[in-house]
């Protein structure tokens, strides 16, 4: 039996955006880094994502968004986490975000946003440095 805490991460795609290659690649990178990744797949509502995150007791939610709905979907996930007393679960995003959106999303509580070209190693290292399993 292992006695170390394993980092658990939910990777999913909210909304109608159907391009999941990025999400699958990051899930794979997290697996190779030794994390346990709960992959919830496409077309998730914020409610589904938050409930899954709570049931799975993840430390981190990583959402992929390429279709421009991040300003609506990400804050909703944050609100729901707060509503359910689960604001200790960290939210990050990956995808296409204009600079001004990055600023405002971070202000609202998204911990980090990764844009095209972000190296996988860099994202994995960010997780190692910033996420301490509870």
């Amino acid at each position: 039996m292992s006695k170390e805490r394993k980092i658990r991460i939910l990777v999913g795609k909210p909304g109608l955006d159907g391009h999941d290659r990025g999400a699958r690649i990051i899930a794979r990178a997290f697996r190779d880094a030794g994390f346990e990744v709960v992959y919830t797949g496409l077309h998730q509502t914020p409610e589904e994502i938050v409930q899954a995150a709570i049931q799975e007791d993840v430390d981190l939610i990583g959402l992929s968004s390429l279709a421009g709905a991040h300003n609506y979907l990400f804050p909703q996930v944050l609100e729901l986490l707060q509503e359910k007393g689960a604001e200790d679960i960290v939210l990050i995003g990956g995808g296409i975000f204009p600079d001004e959106d990055i600023l405002s999303l971070k202000q609202r509580g998204v911990k980090e946003l990764f844009t095209p070209g972000a190296p996988l190693d860099g994202i994995v290292n960010w997780v190692r440095e910033n996420i301490k399993p509870r």
């Binding site: 039996m1 697996r31 990744v37 797949g41 409930q51 899954a52 709570i54």
Partner: protein, 322 residues
């Protein structure tokens, strides 16, 4: 409020965290499990096993739907493999069941094997107890995709489903020992495919050849053809599961007691095995003896049989090595 009370009250966050603590082998979790033990034994546990890709998760999804339509509460444990290299895992069973995420009467948890063989995880039994104690009527346990010999689920489930798809091997597969012997209910999924009837025939012959039915209390396994993705045939399958449940209940208290006896036996056996190995291994490692033993073995100064006997003789005073 105590952990135990929170679990009994069905506090989702407490349940989720406790399962994680069990998974991570924290000693606090064990203390809670001790307290929960008297509150377990009420849920009906269904095991779902079969090779990778036969549709276990999709089947679980429609089973949840069916049970919820009947007003039953459901807990799900879905096991996926851990990478032997990184120790990480991608747990993807949930994708097929995500529509039930927001249903408060459904609790779904993905688990990684973490190096354990047998189809489940070392923590599965504990996790079942937690879902049982929180009051779920049914607990569906989906094993990792299995081959031929991963039959651990049988020790934990009241009814074990073996999921197959048409055209997966010839007649000889069906007479081999192992997984096909342990099914209470056989499910042939993707039954629209060619060969479904042939697969059914082969399973039927296998079942018929076992005339004595000494194991399983005389139950004759049933076979169902379904298309899980279209929710076809699932109603009948659920009735088949209920029939097995009724059969177990009708066998009377003696049979159920025997069932509980066997389960208690395996539970204690597995736990002692796990605890002993862990305690001894930790102890030997800390004292540096472990490294010495391994070196001795590598250089053929001794053999593992003698060593194991010596370790047992020394540490378990009074117990003789077999």
């Amino acid at each position: 409020m105590s952990w135990t009370q929170k679990i009994l009250d069905g506090d989702i966050r407490a349940v989720a965290r406790l399962i994680r603590n069990i998974d991570d082998g924290l000693s606090e979790a064990r203390e809670v499990l001790k307290e929960l033990y008297p509150h377990t034994g009420r849920a009906y546990i269904i095991g779902i096993t079969g090779s990778p890709g036969v549709g276990k998760s999709t089947l679980v999804d429609v089973m949840i739907q069916n049970l919820r339509a009947r007003g039953k509460t459901v807990g799900v444990l879905a096991v996926d493999p851990t990478s032997p290299f990184s120790g990480g895992a991608i747990l993807g069973d949930r994708i097929r069941m995500q529509r039930h995420s927001t249903d408060k009467e459904v609790f779904i948890r993905s688990m990684a094997t973490r190096g354990h063989f047998g189809g489940l995880t070392p923590s599965t039994r504990g996790a079942i107890s937690v879902l049982d104690a929180m009051g779920k009527d049914y607990i569906l346990v989906e094993t990792v995709g299995v081959g031929q010999d991963e039959i651990e689920i049988v020790r934990s489930a009241h009814t074990t489903l073996i999921v197959l798809v048409p055209g997966m091997g010839d007649e000889i597969q069906a007479i081999k020992a192992g997984i096909l012997e342990v099914g209470d209910v056989f499910v042939i999924n993707k039954a629209e495919r060619e060969g479904a009837q042939k697969t059914r025939q082969e399973i039927m012959v296998m079942i018929e050849m076992n005339k004595e039915r000494k194991i399983k209390g005389g139950w004759k396994p049933s076979i169902f053809l379904i298309e899980a993705i279209k929710n076809e045939g699932v109603e009948d399958l659920m009735k088949g599961i209920e029939e097995h449940r009724t059969f177990l209940l009708k066998k009377g208290p003696d049979y159920l007691k025997k069932f509980q006896y066997d389960q208690a036996h395996m539970e204690l056996f597995d736990l002692i095995k796990q605890d002993c190995v862990e305690v001894l291994h930790d102890h030997l490692k800390r004292s540096g003896k472990w490294e010495q033993y391994i070196q001795d073995l590598v250089h053929k100064k001794t053999d593992p049989y003698t060593l194991s006997e010596e370790i047992i003789a020394f540490h378990l005073n009074g117990c003789k090595a077999p």
